[in-house]
Structures are given as structure tokens and as C-alpha cells.
Symmetry: C2
């Protein structure tokens, strides 16, 4: 089956987590007028089972379209946030329902280039899909005890086309 690419919006992504960007976010002026603070953009949910927030950089190789969705993963103990360190679009594939997800549960979003995302705890998602060259992302996830990654193989015929 073909998986359609949708534009990423705060409303469309709400069932899966947070969109991290300034557009539509609450904000106020700080630093004597030298900065605007866009406040509290993601629910960082990492404390369960003795967890702590980890800050990392993922340096991602680009993928090419059409793209085959072979595997999905989830983190049962934590959220996971990705914020691009260059203003470039990337793809975000998540599952709306299903335990494990079915092919028909998947949604695929393309970011604007100015957006990061935060997967809510337990949301099935595809590993990072950069599109435009080697790219660094700031990643906020969890360190601590417990097994925090489930993976599932998907049927062979799920294709994301450009």
C-alpha cells in the first residue's frame, strides 16, 4: 500500500505528541526585549522507573523516496524529542491505533523545516528519516533502568512516495 505524506501541523500531530516550533505557541518577551520566549513546547516524560532526561545529537544520513517502511519502534518508558539543527524538512511516521500497529494505522507527516517533534510515551514511530543530506538533530530522551525500546517488523508492501 502507498502511504500518503501529509503536512505536519500541531492539530494533526496532537494524538502522537508535540510539534516543537514557534508557530501558534504561547510566548512572552524576556531579556530586556532582546528575546522572545516560546514557552513549554513539549511534554518531556522520562521520569518513570527512575529515569532522567538525556540530551543527545543524532547525526542522520538521508533516506531516499520512494521509501519502504520496514520497522516501527516505541519507547514504553518515555517520550522522545527531535529538533533539527538546520532548517530542513524530515519525515515523521507514526501509528494512530493498534497494538501492534497495522499498515492501515500509519500516518506520515513532512515537517516544514522549522519544526521539531516530540513523540509521546509509547507512540509507535519509525526511526529518524532525514531527507536533505547529512543532518544533526538535538534529541531529548531518557536514561535509566528498564528496557525502553520495542520494535516490530511491518508488512513488506508499505511505501512512502515523494
Amino acid at each position: 500500500m502507498k502511504l500518503k505524506i501529509e503536512p505536519l501541523t500541531r492539530t494533526a500531530f496532537a494524538p502522537f505528541g508535540d510539534v516543537i516550533d514557534c508557530s501558534g505557541a504561547g510566548h512572552y518577551t524576556i531579556n530586556d526585549g532582546f528575546a522572545e520566549r516560546y514557552h513549554d513546547l513539549a511534554k518531556i516524560d522520562v521520569a518513570s522507573n527512575g529515569g532522567r532526561p538525556l540530551v543527545n545529537i543524532f547525526r542522520a544520513k538521508p533516506r531516499e523516496l520512494p521509501f519502504k517502511v520496514a520497522l516501527m519502534e516505541r519507547h514504553p518508558l518515555s517520550s522522545q524529542a527531535f529538533v533539527p539543527l538546520l532548517p530542513r524538512a524530515f519525515l515523521v511516521i507514526v501509528a494512530a491505533f493498534g497494538q501492534p500497529p497495522l499498515a492501515t494505522d500509519l500516518r506520515c507527516f513532512r515537517t516544514t523545516g522549522m519544526q521539531g517533534i516530540n513523540y509521546a510515551r509509547g507512540i509507535w514511530h519509525h526511526p529518524l528519516i532525514a531527507l536533505e543530506g547529512l543532518q544533526d538533530f538535538l534529541v531529548i530522551d531518557r536514561g535509566g533502568p528498564g528496557d525502553n525500546c520495542d520494535e516490530i517488523q511491518m508488512p513488506a508492501d508499505i511505501i512512502v512516495e515523494g
Copy 2:
């Protein structure tokens, strides 16, 4: 007095917190070879007194050199991390010793453009100093009860020159 600008390195900044970049950081391969994870780059210290991590974007106006250091601040309950969302340099002014800091305690670092920083809890620092146009930073700090910002006016003669 004139405050000298030094290059930001992990070693030089160690007394004040963390440098968030890939250079010299521990890393390993993930996502079937499609990404390199530079792991655990900053100590996020926000849990005291019922705190939780906040993710924000600060949109900063640039400052011009020479620059007068009028005020320093510190967050007694938390760390605070700044990661630029465009690869541009910014200035970081911190105080090595002193409670409150003296002019002679200050250090000023210029980032490479590929570096973020994380101020350790309680470290005196100057508010964000962007240099190259309007710039967004991802900021990880703390939400929760308690007064988490102390400010102090500095003597009038501390100047950062280009």
C-alpha cells in the same frame, strides 16, 4: 575593563557546565547504520523542589560589539541549556568565582557555531547574546515551584570588544 573573548572548548567550559556538540563526544551507531548517536551531552538538573524539564524556543535579537556587560543572572534551582537552531556563533559570559561575581571573575567565550551550552545549576551567566541576526535557540530549563532567577547589576565599565 575589557573582557577578552576566548574560544569555547569542552575543557575551558567544564567549570561552568557542558558544551553540547559532537566534537569529542562519545557516540555509537543506531537505526541500522542511518544515524550516529552522540550520547548524553548535558546534565539536565531540573528536578529539585518539584521541578520538571521545560523545552522552549528563544528567538533572540543580535547584540553588537563592543558590548557592555550590565547584568548577570543565575538559576539556583536548575541548569539551563541553549542550542542554536542555525549554525551560528554566539557569546557566552559566565562567572568563575564569587558570590556575587566581581568583574574580574567573568569569562567570555565565543562558540564555533556548531556548539550549544548547558549552564550548570547556580552558575552566574549573562542573558543570551546572539551575534549574527535574529536567531532561534532550543532552550531546556525548568518549570515548577520556587523563585529560580537571581539577577545582579554589574559595574558600568565591563566591555566585550570584537
